[in-house]
C-alpha cells in the first residue's frame, strides 16, 4: 500500500502545509466579513466599518471576540448532540475541500527533494470535491432539524434541496470540462492550462465559456449567496437555519460560509482560470529562483481568488433574491438542459474536430 507507506518528513511537511492552509483560510474568511461590509458600503455609497483600526481593519477581531464571549444557548427541546454536530459538520466540510487544491507549482530544492504545495494530489480530485460538497448539506440539515423550530426546518430543507438540485447541474457542466482535460486530478488540470497563450488560449474558460457560466451560477446556489440566498431569506424565514444558534456555533456557520466562498473561488480559478498560471510565467521561472517563483505563483493565485470573491460580492449587493419556484425552475429546466447540451456539443467537437 503506497498510500500508507509514509515517512516522517512527509508527515511533517503535510502537517505544516495543512496548518498553513487552515490558518490562511480562517484568516481570509475573517477578513472576508470585513470585505463584504466594505463592498456593501461602497455599493451603497456609505463608509462601512471604520471605528476599529484604520479602515475598520480590526473589525473582524472585534466580531470574533464578541461571538466567543456571548452566552451559549442550547434550546430546551432540541436534540442536543445533533445541535452541536450541525455547525461542526458545516465547518469540517468547508475546510476539507482545500486539501486537493494545488496552491502553487512544485518547489524543487537544491538537494533534489520536492515540496508540493498541495495537500493531496489524488487522481479523483474533482470527485473528492463533489463528495465533500455533497456532505456539506448535512451540517445545514442537521442544525436546522435539531433546533426544533419550524423556520429552521423549512430553511434547512430549502437549503438542502437547493444544494442537491444545483449539484446536478454543476456536475454536468464539469463533465464537459473533464472531457477536454481527460483527467480528474486538479494538479493535472492546472498544468494543462500552463501559461496563458500557447498558440491558443490555454485556460479552460476560453474553451468552455458556457460550462463556466453554468458552474458559476451553480456555485452561487451552492454557497447560498445572493441572489440564491433563500435559506436565509429574512422576510420569509426569520433568520434561516441558524436562527436558534448563538455564540461561536453561529460563528461556525457564518465562518463556514465565508470559507466556502474562498475555497469555491479557488476551485473556480483552478478549473477555469488556470489556477496559479499566469502569462509569461516561463520567463519568470527562468529569471527567479524556484522558491521565489513559487511564491509569485501563489500570490497570483490568491489575487485571482480575491478578484473572484469580489465578483461574488458585487453580485450579492446588486441582484435581488429569487423566488423559490424560480430558483427550482432555473436549476432543473434551464441549467441542466443547458449543461447537457454543452456536454453533447463538446463531445461532438472532440469526436469530429479535435480527434
Amino acid at each position: 500500500m503506497l498510500l500508507l507507506q509514509i515517512d516522517t518528513a512527509f508527515i511533517i511537511e503535510k502537517i505544516l502545509l495543512i496548518t498553513v492552509i487552515l490558518l490562511g483560510s480562517l484568516g481570509i474568511a475573517m477578513y472576508l466579513t470585513w470585505a463584504e461590509r466594505k463592498v456593501a458600503a461602497v455599493m451603497q455609497d456609505r463608509i462601512g466599518p471604520a471605528r476599529a483600526g484604520i479602515f475598520g481593519l480590526l473589525q473582524p477581531l472585534a466580531d470574533g471576540g464578541k461571538l466567543f464571549f456571548k452566552e451559549e444557548i442550547i434550546p430546551d427541546r432540541s436534540t442536543r448532540t445533533l445541535f452541536i454536530l450541525g455547525p461542526a459538520l458545516a465547518m469540517l466540510t468547508a475546510l476539507m475541500t482545500s486539501a486537493v487544491v494545488p496552491w502553487g507549482p512544485d518547489i524543487t530544492l537544491e538537494n533534489g527533494s520536492v515540496i508540493r504545495l498541495q495537500v493531496a494530489d489524488i487522481s479523483i480530485g474533482i470527485l473528492f470535491i463533489f463528495g465533500v460538497v455533497s456532505l456539506g448539506v448535512y451540517g445545514v440539515m442537521l442544525g436546522g432539524w435539531a433546533s426544533n423550530n419550524k423556520f429552521s426546518l423549512l430553511s434547512s430543507i430549502r437549503a438542502a434541496s437547493q444544494a442537491i438540485s444545483y449539484e446536478l447541474a454543476m456536475g454536468l457542466s464539469l463533465v464537459a470540462v473533464l472531457m477536454m482535460t481527460g483527467s480528474l486530478s486538479l494538479r493535472e488540470i492546472v498544468e494543462q492550462q500552463h501559461g496563458f497563450w500557447d498558440g491558443y488560449f490555454t485556460w479552460n474558460f476560453f474553451k468552455q465559456p458556457l460550462g463556466f457560466l453554468i458552474f458559476l451560477i451553480c456555485a452561487f446556489a451552492e454557497l447560498n449567496r445572493a441572489p440564491f440566498d433563500l435559506p436565509e431569506c429574512e422576510s420569509e424565514l426569520n433568520m434561516g437555519y441558524h436562527q436558534e444558534y448563538s455564540s461561536m456555533k453561529l460563528g461556525f456557520y457564518l465562518f463556514a460560509e465565508y470559507i466556502n466562498l474562498f475555497v469555491s473561488s479557488a476551485v473556480i480559478i483552478t478549473l477555469f482560470f488556470g489556477g496559479y498560471n499566469f502569462p509569461f510565467m516561463d520567463k519568470v521561472a527562468g529569471a527567479a529562483s524556484p522558491i521565489v517563483f513559487s511564491l509569485i505563483c501563489v500570490l497570483i493565485f490568491l489575487t485571482k481568488i480575491i478578484c473572484c470573491i469580489l465578483f461574488f460580492m458585487f453580485i450579492r449587493w446588486t441582484l435581488p433574491r429569487f423566488r423559490y419556484d424560480q430558483l427550482m425552475r432555473l436549476g432543473w429546466k434551464s441549467l441542466i438542459p443547458l449543461a447537457l447540451f454543452n456536454m453533447v456539443v463538446t463531445g461532438a467537437a472532440i469526436l469530429w474536430i479535435f480527434k
Partner: protein, 172 residues
C-alpha cells in the same frame, strides 16, 4: 501490526458498531447518521483495497444523495422515536435469532474454506481510467440498460409522488 492492519480493524469495528447503531437507535435520524458512518467505514475499506473511485462514488451516491433523501423524508414526516410503534419482544427476539442463525450457518460453512490472501501490492484496476474502459467496452449494454432503468425509476417516482388533487383536477 502494520498501518494497514490497524486501519482495517479500526474500520471494521467502526462499520459493525455503526451498523448495530442503525438498527438499535430509536430515533430514525440517528439511524440515518449511523448508516452514513457505516458507509464511510465501507468507503474506507474500499480505499484500503485500492478502489478509490468506488470509495468516492460510494460517498457521493450513498452519503451525499441517498441518505440525504432519507433524512429529507424523515424530517418532512417529523418521525420521532416516540411515534414509532415497537414490535413486541417475541418478534424482535425471533428476528435476532434468525439473523444470528443465518450468520452462524454461513460462518460455519465458510470457516473451513482455504485461506486466500489479498495482494498487498498496489494495483491500478480501481482507477477511474481502467474502470471506465471496462465499463464502456465490456459492460456497455448493461450500462445503457441501467440508465434506462434509472430513468424509468425517476419517472415512476415523480408519478407516484404527484399529489392526488392534481390527478383529480386532470380528470375533471
Amino acid at each position: 501490526m502494520s498501518t494497514y492492519e490497524i486501519l482495517f480493524w479500526f474500520l471494521t469495528v467502526m462499520a459493525l458498531s455503526c451498523a448495530l447503531g442503525v438498527i438499535l437507535s430509536r430515533n430514525p435520524v440517528n439511524s440515518v447518521l449511523f448508516l452514513i458512518a457505516t458507509f464511510f467505514a465501507i468507503s474506507g475499506h474500499y480505499v484500503l483495497m485500492n478502489a478509490q473511485f468506488l470509495a468516492i462514488v460510494n460517498i457521493i451516491v450513498y452519503a451525499g444523495a441517498i441518505m440525504v433523501l432519507f433524512l429529507f423524508v424523515i424530517m418532512l414526516m417529523n418521525l420521532n422515536a416516540d411515534t414509532e410503534p415497537q414490535k413486541n419482544r417475541l418478534v424482535q427476539f425471533a428476528g435476532v435469532i434468525s439473523g444470528g442463525a443465518l450468520f452462524l450457518v454461513v460462518l460455519a460453512a465458510l470457516r473451513t474454506s482455504s485461506v486466500n490472501m489479498l495482494e498487498q501490492s498496489p494495483t491500478d484496476i480501481g482507477l477511474i481510467k481502467n474502470l471506465g474502459k471496462t465499463l464502456f467496452t465490456q459492460f456497455v449494454l448493461p450500462f445503457e440498460i441501467s440508465s434506462v432503468l434509472f430513468l424509468s425509476a425517476m419517472i415512476g417516482a415523480v408519478v407516484i409522488g404527484k399529489k392526488e388533487e392534481a390527478v383529480s383536477e386532470v380528470k375533471q
